[in-house]
């Protein structure tokens, strides 16, 4: 894409990336400050755990710094960073699932206090302090909890589309770039994900 067609934001990102490649660490700090909320938000919503999200968030920016020399400047920096954040989150979810499988394989024993609650809907613990999340008061807590819980149970790629589209405001084209799939695939995943979330509301409304 020619430079003249890039948005002001993208041009600023390109300048910061260039300065960073030339050894200016301050330029990278500016990029961290600019995108920390968005990257952290994606990771936090993917993982649902604040401490884990902090670790993965830091790793995301460190990976970005280390990969800056191989970064293709034709791709928007934001999409590239979100790709790193999303992949890191999915990797972390897989590691977590593997740990869970190992625990399950261990068979019956003493109840594990770190294991999930018996009724995940009623005992759902929304990630992070309530002050972080401006919940819409017009929706019943039960409905919101059911949707959050169903989101947590979606396949990783569907969940990523929901987080990137509905929480971070990315278009399907951008999501396609982030996830490395065509725009229409991202859109299809989004439709299927919402269909599954709607199914989860059966019996509630």
């Amino acid at each position: 894409m020619p430079n003249s067609r890039l948005s002001r934001d993208a041009r600023e990102d390109a300048r910061l990336v260039r300065e960073c490649r030339e050894g200016d660490d301050g330029a990278f700090e500016a990029l961290v400050l600019k995108y920390q909320d968005q990257a952290f938000g994606v990771i936090y919503r993917m993982l649902g755990d604040r401490e884990e999200a902090l670790d993965v968030g830091q790793e995301t920016f460190i990976k970005a710094y280390q990969g800056l020399h191989g970064f293709d400047a034709r791709m928007p920096f934001r999409a590239w960073l979100m790709r790193i954040a999303t992949n890191a989150s999915i990797d972390q979810l897989r590691r977590r699932n593997r740990r869970r499988e190992v625990k399950v394989d261990m068979g019956p024993g003493k109840p594990d206090p770190s294991a999930g609650p018996e009724n995940p809907v009623l005992a759902f613990d929304p990630p992070g302090p309530p002050s972080d999340i401006p919940e819409n008061i017009s929706m019943s807590n039960e409905t919101a909890a059911v949707v959050r819980n169903a989101l947590d149970g979606l396949p990783d790629n569907y969940k990523a589309v929901m987080v990137l589209h509905h929480m971070e405001g990315l278009s399907y084209s951008e999501i396609g770039t982030v996830l490395g799939v065509p725009r229409n695939t991202a859109k299809t995943w989004g439709h299927r994900a919402r269909g599954l979330l709607c199914e989860a509301l059966e019996g509630v409304m």
């Binding site: 909320d37 399907y172 709607c198 509301l201």
Partner: protein
């Protein structure tokens, strides 16, 4: 609404598409009016529409997560600490340390060589004295 064969009517399919587009970020006024009119008379689509609205509302309610205030500082601290560990020391200090190592190694080598030479000389002298003594005897 389903027909006698249990299949969705074309209006319902159109409504479902409109509901999807609504969930994706909005639809035009004309489609919106058609959708409202359809769901007013179709219980299945009305339920789907309500659920989709609830899903979108719930997802939107999860926006606005912020990173902690010290997030950037921690990232930069970790980065710079990692870089400092990998960078060569500035002002030629690393070069000076390397030179010292070479000088020390050369010193040890010279000391060993001198020691060997002295030992050889002493052994040679002892042997020649023994030979001389044997000759005189």
């Amino acid at each position: 609404m389903r027909d006698r064969r249990g299949e969705k009517s074309r209006d319902c399919e159109r409504a479902a598409c409109a509901i999807e587009d609504f969930a994706d970020g909005g639809i035009g006024r004309a489609r919106w009016m058609l959708l409202r009119r359809h769901v007013a008379g179709c219980q299945d689509c009305a339920t789907y529409f309500d659920r989709m609205g609830a899903v979108v509302e719930a997802l939107a309610g999860m926006q606005g997560v912020k990173a902690p205030d010290d997030f950037a500082a921690i990232v930069m601290h970790r980065l710079l600490a990692g870089l400092a560990a990998n960078r060569p020391e500035p002002d030629g200090k690393g070069h000076g340390r390397g030179t010292l190592v070479w000088v020390a190694a050369a010193g040890v080598g010279v000391a060993v060589a001198v020691g060997l030479a002295v030992a050889r000389w002493a052994l040679g002298r002892e042997a020649s004295e023994k030979l001389a003594a044997a000759g005189s005897a």
